[in-house]
Subunit: 540 residues, 2 copies
């Protein structure tokens, strides 16, 4: 579907005019939140997640206009196209079927007239079987000892989602397996990982769709040599997750097992595929992974089936567009009041910024409304003791506060100042959005709080695998809805190509110098040349 640039459609202009109205002092949040039934009107629950946008700088008119924008851009239709296997990743001529990876429906999903679901189910089945053999110690390392360490070698989308989910659900890990991540090509990353493992009981999972990712290949090679040096047969310790027929799926390079990735699931959307499925099933058990998938499926169904004005990720995407394009906020924070969700932040940072950090429509025209904000964050209350000085009195930025009603630990009920730690945490979760919204007058300007700083509050009932799956799928759906409104393709990432091209030249220069000590760096950018000389001389 081709469509106009977002800035050119009439409703966009109406929203710009409306933003001027919302800038008036009577529309300050301290006034908006006093309105009758403010919370009832500006909050909703779906797929067991509560979403409160009553402290966003919107009124009923704002929402009406935003829903009209969503209608105009046919975002529900675009979502349906996506989940039904249409090639919505137009620039790469691919489907975007991360939703299929957690579908437990019997319905087929056709790509190029072929049902992809049998393949998806097969991978899930293979993971389940393999994980149970590892847990039952039917498969062991080359010396017969059961595995105790799993190292995931993968970067970006092959790493961040799995890291998030494994941290969020670590309390469920009872398989006597430690999970490690070797993402960075930085030798410190490798050095730290090998200082924590026991090679004999270590499984390395190499994750790369193309099996050509430079960092992953370099780390896999290093790990391979490391195992050989320890006298261990790498073929009995390596597993790959990669596309069918890639160099990582070549019988000439034997491995313990190989799991397939599909070209219709992009890295940053892949934690519900084998990319997350294998390490998470090993670490947590396949049953926990499946419960996580079912939570994600529930949110997918909500996103697909529920009308716009009751649809959580739709509303979240509209609020994000409103804050970015109409109120002019260039950043947005995620502040989970739940330490296990700390790795949600780098995950969403990738998911959202790589998907929506674009400057062209999916047809390749320059945007006339900026896409994508910068996402950052830290858990609360830590963030309060870090950058909330700026949040309250410096440059404002919208926040997603996230709360968990029932924590994973119920056994510590000791009270301080009459409240438990969980209650103290919630007292802060409740106070911060309120303080940011209402502000406080003071003649002493150093103690004046302007307020009118917007936030949403998202509540999960608990940190069960299902809840974490719902939250993951919520941010995925929000991200793609936002792209659909802006008319961009959230599934490509041509922006990383230039760096990859230049690094090829620089790498060749280094390799040439490794070969021939007298090689001169005189054919490249002189500043780059200086750094190469510095690297080889060991001093700047």
């Amino acid at each position: 579907m081709s469509c106009k640039k977002s800035g050119d459609i009439p409703i966009w202009k109406k929203l710009l005019q409306h933003a001027d109205i919302m800038a008036r002092s009577e529309k300050h949040l301290k006034n908006l939140i006093k309105e009758k039934e403010r919370l009832e009107k500006f909050s909703l629950k779906g797929a067991d997640i509560f979403y409160d946008f009553s402290r966003q700088r919107v009124d009923e008119k704002t929402m009406d206009l935003l829903f009209e924008l969503a209608e105009t851009r046919k975002i529900k239709e675009q979502f349906s196209s996506m989940v039904s296997g249409k090639k919505v990743n137009t620039t790469e001529n691919r489907a975007a079927l991360h939703t299929a990876s957690r579908s437990f429906s019997d319905d087929p999903v056709f790509v190029d007239e072929k049902d992809v679901m049998p393949g998806v189910r097969r991978v899930r089945y293979d993971i389940k079987k393999f994980a149970s053999k590892i847990h039952e110690k039917k498969i062991t390392g080359s010396t017969g000892k059961p595995f105790k360490h799993v190292v995931v070698i993968g970067i970006g989308g092959s790493y961040l989602g799995t890291e998030f989910v494994s941290c969020a659900l670590s309390v469920f890990a009872n398989k006597n397996l430690e999970l490690h991540f070797l993402s960075n090509v930085d030798i410190h990353n490798f050095g730290q990982v090998v200082s924590r493992i026991d090679p004999e009981t270590t499984m390395w999972i190499v994750i790369s769709k193309s099996y050509t990712t430079a960092e992953t290949k370099a780390n896999a090679k290093l790990a391979f040599e490391f195992m050989k040096e320890k006298g261990l047969d790498p073929a009995k310790h390596f597993v790959t997750v990669t596309s069918k027929g890639s160099p990582g799926d070549d019988p000439a390079n034997p491995v313990l097992c190989s799991f397939h990735m599909f070209d219709f699931i992009g890295g940053r959307y892949s934690v519900t595929s084998a990319v997350g499925g294998l390490p998470l099933s090993l670490y947590l058990g396949y049953e926990i992974f499946e419960r996580f998938l079912k939570g994600a499926e529930e949110m997918d169904n909500h996103a697909k089936n529920v009308p716009l004005h009751k649809n959580l990720p739709v509303i979240a995407s509209l609020i994000s567009i409103w804050n970015n394009n109409f109120l002019g906020f260039e950043t947005g924070a995620i502040i989970p009041y739940a330490t296990p969700l700390c790795k949600l932040i780098p995950h969403v940072q990738q998911l959202y910024m790589e998907s929506n950090g674009k400057s062209v429509t999916k047809e390749g025209d320059s945007l006339n409304a900026p896409a994508g904000v910068i996402v950052f964050g830290e858990p609360g209350t830590n963030a309060q003791h870090s950058f909330f000085q700026l949040a309250h009195q410096g440059r404002p930025f919208p926040i997603d506060f996230i709360g968990v009603i029932t924590p994973q630990y119920e056994q510590y009920q000791c009270k301080s100042k009459g409240v438990t730690n969980h209650q103290e945490l919630w007292a802060n979760l409740i106070s911060q959005p309120l303080a940011l919204a209402i502000g406080k007058e003071n003649k002493n300007k150093a103690r004046y709080f302007p307020g009118n700083r917007p936030s949403s509050t998202i509540l999960l009932n608990d940190l069960s695998p299902e809840s974490v799956g719902r939250l993951l799928a919520f941010y995925e759906a929000k991200t793609v809805f936002e792209a659909f409104i802006l008319g961009i393709n959230p599934f490509d990432q041509f922006g990383v190509e230039l760096g990859k091209k230049i690094v090829t030249d620089i790498r060749s220069e280094i390799a040439a110098k490794n070969e021939k000590k007298d090689h001169k760096f005189d054919k490249i950018d002189p500043i780059a040349g200086f750094y190469l000389d510095t690297l080889f001389s060991g001093s700047s």
Copy 2:
């Protein structure tokens, strides 16, 4: 020293006019970096750190104007006032003497006519003695077993700096002591920590200047009760770092040892005081901590003594002001190509955003030029596979790239594509600033790179304790120089007060409900009331 608002001084207006010139196409970075001796003119070395700003959007005229700004604001004089013990924290009538905490000079430093140095040296001596008794097992836990775990209970400035340094230097840890952080009042944080320790061999270090920080007190109480429940005497397992005479320094509450904090060192500047000194000396040994201090002292002396145009933190602060106030960038990233520096990011996030996220001058007048940008980041190359799509083609933001010439691990030299992992990492460190600066034309707009995206590159010779100390002090000095230019007070944080005030009311409501089941939340903000009902009913 009172001074004009930054936006009102003549040089500020000259800089605004000059920014228009720098926006012209001939001033695109792809052209600037081609100029003869670009790197020589726009880079320098000091205190063993190399700082390259040749890929910043500045020319010689820019720097002349910025140095004039620095002169006008007398920032070197302000820095000298700070290190000499003047009460530069005017709003709280305190000195700001973090530099004293790493001074090994024999010179006195007077505050209120009293030399503070004997007290500083005494604390260092006490830490050294205590740490060595722990390492020699002369002090043990209540059952006679040597300590194996140290849990730091502290939040914000009592935590982030120590976390940064302990991660950066973990390779030096050889004292058989594991270091844990209990910062968040979140019960998940407590649950996770206690799942990793052995109570009998655990020392808890409670760090709070006032000993009234709600999170820290709640966690300390929880830990205290936990130890008692395990039948262990908390007095033999607890250590405090706090102000003389605070409730944490009360003989009525006996502890293993108590170390003093001074009111002239603020939390976010306190890692070189007992706050960092005690946990780091236990974890790494006092000798390593002292080497770290000496690196910081070296940078302090550089910042204090070297003229403006050769002064690293001065130039870094001017570049930051230029990017923020004249080029309009609202964010800035830190991308260390060194995994051990990953926790530099949250540390600087606090240090910088809490110091400079202000809206008033130190005299209490509203600023007419915005202070403080939003700091975020992830290690490279990880960041390239996360948000660099946006960095190259979306909303631009300035970046501090950080490289390390000699890594902590030299033993893994296996090559991939002809280069070692460390060389591959550097190939990326070299390529990204170049790609961001030069961009690339393409008629296909999806593959067009606008370039002109500014960055600095900071090189450390290695990740020695000295280098980490220099880097810490570099960011501290940059932060305060920037504040001095803007005329703000980087040492107070009134912006956190409103949240603290509201949370007191909310906490009381919760405590009342804990006491009396039929307590109604009808006297507070109705949205807050809804969340309180949700917390108590266990469902939204």
